[in-house]
């Protein structure tokens, strides 16, 4: 040790580096770097100058072909690449023509007139009726998912002239513009799709939308460039949209705060109060009640024993009364949801202010009374749910609420695929889940779930409800449809085959300087053609 100390002293004396020198130099270097960093935000690009918007996706799209992929991320991007035949205006709640105008010649015949002069991206020519016809035929021939959910009433389509297509239905279907032309109305370029095939087209989509795909770096980002030939006057306003894949919500938020992105969806609910209260200068907050539900549903005989307690309507009503919906909203969603006890969200035909029957804070006394009336003294109830973190917590909360009326809820979490299979095959006692309603017509929020032939109906049969649902599909008069849907909702509230908790808000955070962004109630539809720097 003494030898080492003497060596050190000698070296310092000879002009070597002493410990003090090292400390001094490190401190100086750190200070210089700090000043440099504070003065020069090297990475914080001011996007307003290059007229570019950066949007954070919370997952990577698997592909950009709307006839193959149904998930959110791809649709967020394709909203801006593809136009639709018709589009819902969220502000007015009206369905507006986009690529076609329509006429209902008779209950089974719809005539579509294509807007002339719309150009496909990248020199693929003009949109014509051939493209529309190609899409109608493709859905039927390739059995894409649209066949089951939006094109089911279509019998066939044929070309009347270059710009006119006739669609014949199998049955009268009044929501045809909303369901078939809007939700199922994405149109792809016939020439490009035939040339590329599904797989290549999904990586190189050719649409008519305000932006065209410029590049896609797998796992990192997608770049859309302004379509110079777009038909909307003067739009889009920005030259480029950069979609960056940032899966972690806290990293998305940090990236917004550091200026790396301009708009972010889905902040962690625990982070939203400070933005809602305007606590973060330079960051704007938007929150819209989503077209979705958190709900609980049950199976009925023959999918469950006829003497199982939840087959008794009073037990199901008791469960609905025992749920404190407001607490779920406060605890799970930090206030970012609205209470409901029925399946018609705000903005839909037939919506009524919620809750209609079951109080937001629940009614435990009433619930206990109904359990006693049903003779249900306490039982185990297995509840399946998919592997979403917020649903697991919601299940725990609901389990605590139901324990108050003697129900021992056993939670069974599943991955999404296993869950979907169990749900569709009706292999469960009860289910707690959330769902996004993808079509803007009330028929879609009710028919699939409550009609005796609906694909996600679980054995509950109510002939009157099925008849009303069929009548609602054929009825063109909105007032008459509204009455029918009120009847259906009342029947569902009375019999509780599904118990609805809330509609979760869609929350977006964005830079103050971003103007023209309006988060809609559909998470998978995020139009950016009105966005500009203020």
């Amino acid at each position: 040790m003494s030898r080492m100390q003497s060596t050190r002293s000698t070296r310092a004396a000879n002009g070597g580096i002493s410990r003090r020198d090292v400390l001094r130099n490190t401190a100086a270097g750190g200070a210089a770097l700090g000043a440099y960093g504070a003065g020069l935000p090297l990475f914080n690009i001011v996007r307003a100058q290059d007229n570019k918007i950066t949007y954070a996706l919370f997952g990577e799209p698997p592909g950009l072909n709307g006839f193959v992929y149904t998930e959110i991320h791809g649709n967020v991007v394709t909203t801006n690449i593809f136009d639709k035949m018709a589009r819902i205006d969220h502000a007015t709640r009206r369905i507006e023509p986009e690529m076609v105008e329509w006429k209902n010649e008779d209950p089974l015949t719809w005539v579509l007139k294509v807007r002339e002069g719309i150009q496909w991206h990248k020199g693929y020519g003009e949109l014509t009726g051939e493209d529309i016809l190609y899409c109608f035929n493709h859905v039927q021939e390739a059995s894409t998912f649209q066949k089951g959910v939006s094109h089911f009433p279509v019998d066939h389509a044929k070309l009347r002239s270059k710009y006119v297509v006739e669609v014949k239905l199998k049955m009268p279907f009044s929501p045809f513009p909303m369901v078939t032309l809007e939700y199922g109305g994405s149109v792809m370029c016939k020439a490009a799709h035939q040339e590329m095939g599904d797989q290549e087209f999904a990586r190189n989509p050719i649409g008519t939308g305000p932006f065209e795909l410029d590049s896609w770096v797998s796992g990192s980002h997608l770049v859309l460039k302004k379509n110079p030939n777009h038909w909307r006057d003067g739009r889009p306003y920005v030259d480029e949209v950069l979609y960056r894949v940032i899966e972690d919500p806290s990293v998305r938020l940090s990236s917004l705060l550091t200026g790396e992105i301009d708009i972010m969806p889905r902040p962690d609910p625990k982070d939203t109060p400070r933005f809602r209260e305007g606590g973060e200068p330079g960051i704007a907050y938007q929150s819209v009640p989503g077209w979705n539900w958190d709900y609980m549903d049950f199976t009925f005989p023959p999918y469950i024993a006829a003497d199982f307690p939840t087959v008794n309507v009073d037990v199901r009503r008791a469960i609905s009364y025992a749920i404190d919906r407001q607490t779920i909203i406060d605890e799970i969603y930090a206030g970012e949801a609205i209470v409901t006890d029925n399946p018609v969200p705000p903005g839909y035909l037939g919506h009524r202010p919620s809750p209609i029957v079951y109080p937001a804070r629940g009614d435990l006394a009433k619930a206990k009374e109904l359990m006693a009336k049903a003779g249900a003294t306490g039982f185990d109830l297995e509840v399946i749910t998919s592997d979403k973190e917020w649903l697991r917590r919601e299940c725990e909360l609901v389990a605590a609420m139901l324990s108050e009326i003697g129900i021992n809820m056993k939670i069974r979490g599943m991955d999404v695929g296993t869950y979907s299979t169990a749900w569709v095959k009706k292999q469960f006692q009860a289910d707690l889940e959330d769902i996004t309603i993808v079509s803007p017509d009330v028929d879609s929020t009710l028919w699939w779930f409550h009609h005796k032939d609906g694909i996600v109906e679980h054995g509950w049969e109510n002939q009157a409800v099925s008849d009303w649902l069929d009548e609602g599909r054929a009825e063109l008069d909105p007032e008459k449809r509204t009455t029918l849907y009120h009847n259906i909702v009342d029947a569902v509230l009375d019999d509780c085959p599904y118990i609805y908790f809330n509609h979760v808000n869609l929350v977006y955070l964005l830079k103050d300087a971003v103007k023209g962004f309006h988060g809609g109630p559909q998470e998978h539809v995020v139009p950016l053609w009105d966005v500009q720097w203020g």
Partner: protein, 318 residues
Amino acid sequence: MGIWSYFLRRLVQIPLVVFFVTVIIFALMKVTPGDPIAIMLGPYATPETMAALQAEFYLDRSIPLQYVLWVRDLMSGDLGHSIRSQELVTDLVATRFPVSIVIAGMATLVSLLIAIPAGVYAAYRRNSPWDYGLMGFTTVGLSVPTFTLALVLILFFALKLRWVPISGIGLRTWSDGFAAFLLPYVLPVAALAVTTIAELARIVRASMLEVLEQEFIRVARAQGIGDALILVAHALKNVLIPVITVIAVVFAFQVGNTITIEYLFSIPGVGSALIAAVINRDFPVIQGLTLVVGVFFIAMNLLADILYAVVDPRIRYG
């Protein structure tokens, strides 16, 4: 036994190890719950579409036959394609693996550049504040999970100080300027390097302490050679033997560690692809990427063994 026969003996063991790796990966995939077709198509899929996809991915065959078909495809260089995106797994490996290798390589390099001098200096100043400080750092470095450390780095250096961006790897090229290109690497590389610095610095320090007690060091000092020369020219060579042998393994582990780091920093590497595939039960991608990472580990272990044999001739005859 010469170095070449040692190398050949290790090489012929590889197919057997790879075979076991394929069996384990395949078995794990089969016991993992989840239906990838159902996830991809959603609850409204038509039965015909589901059946067609199941046939395409051999999911309608018996499990042993599925394994045989998978291995048959592997032998012809076909790792399959993603159920979710239809992307070829070989393309995914080609685009994603180099990114992970670069991150892991940078982290390993930074670790070596810091750990070796730090370890040497701590040993040279044994029981000094420098030594205690380094040992304290290594304890913290080894204790704090990389994920937690990454979050702290984001909070401090990106959010508070705004010195570096959180993400951006893959977004910028050299043409955007050196700083714009390189800055997104700073935090992920730092998060990965801290643990390795701690590990390597401890190895270097312990090794250096041992070497400094050797007879030849005392002789060198007796000859009046300065401490700096003794450390660099005589001691360091011996100290580096254990370091060289662990570099390959450290590098391989860094590739494994990038999985969480890639998720946090939105890095388009093999780790983020693997996480996305796991979430979506995209079995061909999970199988393909896991196999590639597994083979990479085997190769790095082989390299470590060979390096060990090269730098320490006593080993090769073992």
